[in-house]
Symmetry: C2
Subunit: 107 residues, 2 copies
Amino acid sequence: MSQSHDEIFRTLADPTRRAIFERLCRDGDQTVGALTAQAGISQPAVSKHLAILKRAGLVRDRHQGRQTHYSAELGALSPLIDWTSQMTGFWQSRFNQLEDLLKRMDQ
Amino acid sequence: MSQSHDEIFRTLADPTRRAIFERLCRDGDQTVGALTAQAGISQPAVSKHLAILKRAGLVRDRHQGRQTHYSAELGALSPLIDWTSQMTGFWQSRFNQLEDLLKRMDQ
DNA sequence: TTAATTCATAACCGATAAGCTATGGGTTAC
DNA sequence: GTAACCCATAGCTTATCGGTTATGAATTAA
């Protein structure tokens, strides 16, 4: 059903991962070292988070010499946006149904 | 920083919990029994999920006799929507900065 | 009053996940 | 060539989490 939803939600559920992603959105391209410097955890932990973010399509990596640059992939947020508008949309549709019902009762 | 973000993301990260929330959005008010019938897990598990959803503000409960009705609280999705637009907004701002830079270089 | 129903809580178990250290592969500097 | 640097992977430990069964509290039905 919502396989892509699942991975995105699970990936963004971790605060450290969200912080990394937010950093990439705010400041653009960053190396692993730069991300580690502010993450407050070890470099391997950061690499692991980046691998998970990459697997979810939320980031891209670009190898340049011995360092790897990561950047946010905003398109991957679409399922999230779609999901929320679908949820609110469901409500709208139920609301409209109620409206129609009231309108019919009024006549 | 993102305390409310954290709880919402963590809460919606579980597929069972999302399914329950989606059901409430689609079909409106539901009793625990009705939700259990389609959840594929035990009633205590459903109650536990509902407690977590409630703690996150995503659902409201209404006691009626010996049964409890739950309904979706769509307003609780605002932080999620705000977060995503903030992320894309960061990109826009950086894009505009780049645009400005290019414009300045052009002159 | 007694029995049945509906839901919540408690106690426990297995799996998952996030952190660490150690290590290795690849690249640049000396 | 050797050393230093950057990053990824492996292996391990611990904590969290989602599920279960058992039980209790509250309400309705008989």
